[in-house]
């Protein structure tokens, strides 16, 4: 049996569970039996106490996916499920005690497309919500906006050029 700590949609108290075989023991919630089948890599048919759940994982193939966060869809609703084993919880506590912090300092292309327009240049101060770049994809123009007030360090693309998904378009000063 392996111990897991699970947190669904940011609820305060995580669920603890001992997991093994086709049984699971939830701390405070009791024991359950289940059967399941992976219909595809991302689609799971799960039957708990005879009830069917068709659960789709929406982020399994994201390249930056960590194996502790799952965006799961069931009955057309999405839930963020954070699921850690004992080792991961320990590692995290250790990292937190050393005070690691990360800030997003890049504008990333959310999808493949072509740059129609760039509204900023190196050194510009931008405000949250400003349109930085207009990206055309699937016959629609999509505006990419600043997520926070910041300063442009470098623009890495040019107008009328194609870009890939997740390509870094602009770097900001932190």
């Amino acid at each position: 049996m392996n111990k897991y700590f699970i947190n669904i949609d940011g609820v305060e108290t995580p669920i603890e569970a001992d997991f093994g075989g086709n049984e699971i023991l939830f701390k405070d919630l009791g024991r359950d039996e289940f059967v399941y089948k992976f219909i595809t890599d991302d689609l799971l048919l799960l039957r708990v106490d005879h009830k069917n759940y068709l659960v789709k994982a929406e982020n399994v193939h994201d390249s930056d996916m960590k194996n502790t966060e799952f965006l799961l869809e069931h009955d057309s609703k999405s839930y963020k499920v954070v699921c850690k084993n004992e080792l991961e919880v320990l590692t995290e506590k250790f990292a937190a005690s050393r005070g690691t912090t990360k800030i997003k300092n890049e504008l990333i292309s959310p999808m493949p497309g072509a740059i129609v327009k760039i509204n900023v240049k190196e050194g510009d101060e931008v405000k949250k919500g400003d349109v930085l770049i207009v990206l055309e994809a699937m016959k629609m123009e999509n505006e990419l906006k600043a997520a926070a007030n910041c300063k442009v360090q470098k623009v890495l693309v040019e107008e009328k050029t194609p870009v890939d998904k997740n390509q870094v378009l602009i770097k900001f000063e932190v």
């Binding site: 699971i24 991302d42 689609l43 708990v48 789709k56 399994v60 799952f70 609703k77 123009e141």
Partner: protein
């Protein structure tokens, strides 16, 4: 009747046209880009010709190339579908000049009706009500300002050649005007190769109601009733239905007659759609004519029992309409939902990728029009529609129940979709009451969605916990470079033993 036709389109509408042609014993010729070499429609057609690279501008918009294929393959006529070259007068004329029948109106009618400004002039002349505004293309920002001041803000900028919400902008103050004009022109140029736009008074919160018409080359016209298309977001239709909850026989008759009048005045023939805005007091205003088949035409087919592509083919081959207005019978209620590859949680950003799984359960009363099969890819080159689901039932309530059931059973893996968004729309009280307009989604529904938080039952909490652990365990195995991942990719069974060994 034609023996062979070419379809100058792709995807679900190409499949739709092939089906009717085959039922009528007409051979079909498909044209395809690099991307579409083995797409469903290119597979289903009797013949298929490569016409260029994946971007539409290098394939589906190459009129010369398409005419060349039509001649080479011996196609007598060309069906343009919707989008691409379907509303380009020059293409209709090229067909004519090359002795190929264009399955659509005469090119002069496309020019007169396809241009919103000319169409508006025609409407005014024939006493069809219109909204105040310019009846010609705007020259520059100065003229735009003058017009806007005269009719008063808010105003609407619209592409003359437009459709599908492209090249449209609402402007509420003079400061916004210049940049909005530029963006509308840019979009119009990119989408239709024509950047002329015009301005009209913006009617707040109208309904968008359109009438399907059939007109033959002998001056006979019928209307096939309305389609309620007010469920929109950024002028993109989301759900269409017929009948409209605000329609009554008298209003239907008056709007239908206006629709026929304007088509006949333009010398139009073909199937076609006349769009109207309807305000709170049921005043209606002519908007524009779509001189082609609409995406949402199936709901009219369900409610009238007619096959609109068949009617188009009969009209194009010179036949007289086989039915008069009094022969058109309306039965039941039909609803269409467009299932699109887009992410409602990220501002409806289009989503691309390979569809590794499509699970359907249609059954009684559901129709699906699609050009996509499991294993296909949604690309950046074309629109993001995966399928149209159409529910048909004796009444609206039953149709909604069917649609909700079918949507709930429609599973797509590989891209994000708007399915859950559609389901929430179907369930909301305004939709169930039929009490909505073109502003409903953006002004009422989306803000409300953001406030709503899913309640998680203890049972679901358990199930999601187990699901999380199972995905995690599976991934850990695959990170370790074992073979299980490969096995499950083929959709096979992954036994508990395999997973936990």
């Amino acid at each position: 009747m034609f023996k062979k036709i070419l379809i100058a389109n792709r995807g679900e509408i190409a499949v739709r046209i092939i089906n009717t042609a085959r039922e009528m014993g007409i051979k079909t010729v498909a044209v395809y880009s690099d991307f579409d070499r083995y797409s469903m429609y290119a597979k289903l057609a009797d013949e298929a010709y490569h016409i260029g690279e994946s971007p539409a501008a290098k394939s589906y918009l190459l009129a010369d190339k398409i005419i060349e294929v039509a001649k080479k393959s011996g196609a007598e006529a060309i069906h343009p579908g919707y989008g691409f070259l379907s509303e380009r007068a020059f293409f209709a004329k090229m067909c004519e000049d090359n002795g190929i029948k264009f399955i659509g109106p005469h090119h002069t009618a496309i020019e007169d009706l396809g241009s919103k400004t000319k169409a508006k002039q025609l409407a005014v002349k024939n006493k069809v009500p219109v909204v105040a505004g310019t009846e010609h293309a705007i020259k520059d920002a100065e003229e735009a300002k003058t017009v806007a001041r005269k009719i008063g803000f808010p105003i609407m900028i619209k592409a003359s050649a437009g459709g599908g919400g492209k090249g449209m902008r609402v402007v509420r103050s003079e400061e916004e005007l210049e940049s909005a004009l530029r963006m509308a022109q840019n979009e119009a140029r990119a989408s239709f190769g024509d950047d002329s736009v015009f301005i009209e008074k913006y009617v707040d919160s109208p309904r968008h109601i359109e009438f399907q018409i059939l007109v033959d080359e002998h001056g006979n016209a019928v209307h096939l009733g309305e389609r309620e298309c007010s469920m929109q977001r950024r002028h993109q239709k989301i759900i269409e239905e017929t009948p409209s909850s605000i329609m009554d026989p008298d209003l239907r008759h008056r709007m239908g007659e206006c629709a026929k009048t304007i088509a006949l005045a333009a010398g139009y023939y073909n199937a076609g759609t006349v769009e109207f805005m309807v305000d709170k007091d049921k005043n209606f205003y002519f908007l524009e004519v779509n001189t082609r088949l609409q995406v949402e035409h199936p709901i009219t087919e369900m409610r009238t029992g007619l096959d609109l592509v068949k009617e188009q083919l009969k009209i194009a081959s010179g036949e007289k309409l086989s039915l008069k207005q009094e022969d058109v019978k309306f039965t039941g209620a039909a609803i269409e939902c467009r299932i699109c590859a887009e992410d409602p949680d990220s501002n409806f950003m289009p989503s691309t990728g390979k569809l590794s799984y499509i699970g359907r359960n249609l059954g009684n009363g559901m129709r699906e029009d699609t050009g996509i099969e499991q294993g296909n890819e949604i690309s950046i080159y074309y629109d993001s529609m995966i399928a149209k689901l159409i529910a048909y039932a004796p009444d609206r309530k039953l149709a909604i129940e069917k649609m909700a059931r079918a949507l709930n059973n429609y599973t797509v893996v590989g891209v994000k979709t708007n399915i859950s968004f559609l389901m929430k729309l179907l369930e909301c009280p305004e939709y169930i009451e039929g009490d909505y307009n073109t502003q409903f989604v953006e002004r009422v529904f989306l803000p409300r969605l953001e406030e709503t938080k899913a309640v998680i039952s203890p049972e679901l909490q358990k199930a999601l916990s187990i699901a999380g652990i199972l995905f995690k365990s599976r991934n850990e195995k695959s990170f370790n470079g074992r073979t299980e991942k490969k096995k499950s990719k083929r959709g096979g069974w992954l036994s508990r033993k395999e997973l936990h060994n």
